[in-house]
Amino acid sequence: MKAKVRFLLAIVVLGLLMTGPFVVTSILVWAGMEESERNMLLELLMSRLPIGTMMTIFGFGIGVAVLHKLFKQYVEGLLGMAEQLRLMLGANRNFRVKLNGPPEVQQLAQAANDLAAQRDMLMDDVDARIAQANASVEEEKNRLAALMSELAQAVVVCNLDGRILLYNNRARLQFKALSQGPTTVAGGALIGLGRSIFSILEKNQVEHSQEIIRQRLANGKSAMANFVTTTRGGQLLRVQMVPVLSGTPGEGEPQMTGYVLTVDNITRTLEEEARRDHALHALTEGSRAALGSIRAAVANLIDYPEMDPELRERFVKVVDDEASRMSQRLDETMHEFSDSMKTRWPLEDVLAMDVISAAQRRIEDKLKLPTKIEDVDGTLWIKADSFSLVFALVFVAERLQDHYQIRDLRFRTSSEGKLAYLDIIWVGQAISSETFYTWEMETMHALGETSSLSLRDVVDRHGGEIWYQREKAAHRAFFRFVLPLATPEAEVADERRSTGRPEYYDFDLFKFEDKSIDLDRKLSELTYTVFDTETTGLEPSNGDEIIQIGAARIVNNRLLKQEIFNQIVDPERPLKPESIPIHGITEDMVRGQPNIDIVLPGFHAFCEETVLIAHNAAFDMRFLQLKEERTGLRFTQPVLDTLLLSAVVHPNQESHRLDAVLERLGIDIDTRHNALDDAVATGEVFLKLLPLLEEKGIVTVRQALEASEKTYFARIKY
């Protein structure tokens, strides 16, 4: 029953209560009276009726007013409060019930507000804890990623299907160097998140190692496996596998959910070993025969002194012959293998400048000796054990300060052939060669620390030399350290590195299960290659050719800007002058680039096992298909077209050109009309379209393909 109805009912009841007893009493009294008594009563009553009625009406009025007041305050007030409480519960957490009405209602409201405040505090606390937990997980992830990316070893983490979840920059560079064929074309296509490690490493060997680890785990041993494998390019890799185990320690058998691979390219090491072996062999075995002849001849000369002169002459000649042949062989071997005969102490490639700066800091801070830089080549790389080298520099500085009271020190570098010179220069007194000899041979002491090495040891460790030289005209002298020059590994220019943290990891792939492309899987779960081509013109069937292919990958809903394919192609025909302003690719740029026969296999490998995405895909696919016969490569994977998907989502929009779609979806792209930039833009579009498609109930690849087909644009054929 509604409150209003109940109120009206209450008024009726009040009216009845005020008049009812009197009316009933009157009727009963009236019924028991004689005629005369009734007349007398009528007379008595009639004259006083108005005042009675008025009193009654007045009383009734007061009653209604009181009732109304109570109704307003208790019934309607509580109803209003209930609404406010609902509001607090749902739409607006920060709303509070207004305190008005009678004290009892106000107390109730206050209690409700207090409850709400308590609830808010709890909720805030929970939120804060969640945020904190998320932040620490994120931080840990970032720390791990940062650690990995700085490691000097190539590290790759895979799930049990061999899908790559994480890799570091070293791995990227190493495998990039490994990828065969024109490496610029492959562009590191071998490694990438979600890609299979088996394109790099032999599947059988990896699985065999997995098996070994399982057995070792089952036997409660520490689990690790090693193997050496050959790549298709003939490189030797030493791989160490360590399992990633699930679950908390102590809770049952740990399950292997993936593995970490540490990869060393040992081709060069092995080659060096082989060379060293060869040198050793040449010197030992090679000398045996010669020495054998000499020894036998000499023995005969000694044992049979009475032999005739002619024979003696022949034996002497044998000795002479063999001795000079041995000397020659020794020279040749030393010459040929001088590099591999050098010390085996591990030297790192460092900038000479870095070594000098480190020494300078220590000399200035600890010895209070001013230092200066004089002609230091900031790009000079040396092979050095920087710790012992810096120690040696500081040692020399301290000696000079103690014994010759020098006032400052200067550093200088230069290089000649395979050697780098690092000079430490001072003005003043010359030192004697005896002193220098002592310094060279004694165990080094510097800044209160003792090294186990002498200056000579440090120099030998570097396969270098040290000497003392004077610049008489300038009244200066210097020690010259001769060190091997290093040619640092070419740092691969990483143009996209500045744009935030590199996406070298994706732990969600742990959940990834290997299936060939299943059309009924969710769009958001698949791996895609978004690509774009630039062409000489718009008519593939009329001889127009591809001049650039750009592509990027989408893995687990992320566009990976590090894992790209970007290659200009020589179309082997002149470019059309009118098209040059569109794609910005000139004749000079295409000449000397690989042709499509070389580039297409690289691209084919790059997009293996992924769904292809392009804007106006029919156009690009047509170009690829026309090459099928020539290259024997078929692109059989499903293809999604962002132009069609855009038309599915926004059927009433006029334009679905890439520019229009980008603007509509609020995507800001710096440069356009370069295959790679357009591919990336297409990728962004696709990711923005995904939730919009989902609203339309399009969740799987199959649904997306069907919806695309239905749109008007699907009928356009090139």
Binding site: E285, R288, A289, G292, S293, R295, A297, A299, F315, E322
Partner: protein, 123 residues
């Protein structure tokens, strides 16, 4: 009757010394400079002992040794392998395929001579 020794080596500088030494000690000496010649000489010269170099053109010393040991009529022929290969594995191989002694270059001529005499039973 003096014993016969066949010297097989492609290096003239060692052959000259060995030939001189063995002749001085009263042996009848023949020389072959490769493996094939060695087999021919064994047939023709019929030696009691062969000083056999391992590294030779055409047929290696190992092959010659195997071929000689495959002929039961020459079971009494003594074979001393002379070689510049000093690794344990090669010594083991030489002895395994039937050499009676394995001498690594450079060697002492005195010891070699003593060894040869001992093997031929001339004390």
């Amino acid at each position: 009757m003096s014993k016969r020794i066949l010297i097989v080596d492609d290096e003239p500088n060692i052959v000259i010394s060995l030939e001189f030494l063995m002749k001085k000690e009263g042996f009848e000496v023949a020389v072959a400079t490769d493996g094939e010649e060695a087999l021919a000489q064994v047939a023709g010269f019929n030696p009691d002992l062969v000083l056999l170099d391992v590294m030779m053109p055409k047929k290696s010393g190992f092959e010659v040794c195997e071929a000689l040991r495959a002929d039961p009529s020459r079971a009494g022929l003594q074979i001393v392998m002379l070689t510049a290969k000093g690794r344990d594995t090669e010594v083991a191989k030489g002895l395994a395929i039937g050499a009676d002694a394995y001498v690594t270059k450079p060697f002492s001529t005195k010891e070699l001579l003593a060894r040869v005499k001992e093997m031929l039973g001339i004390a």
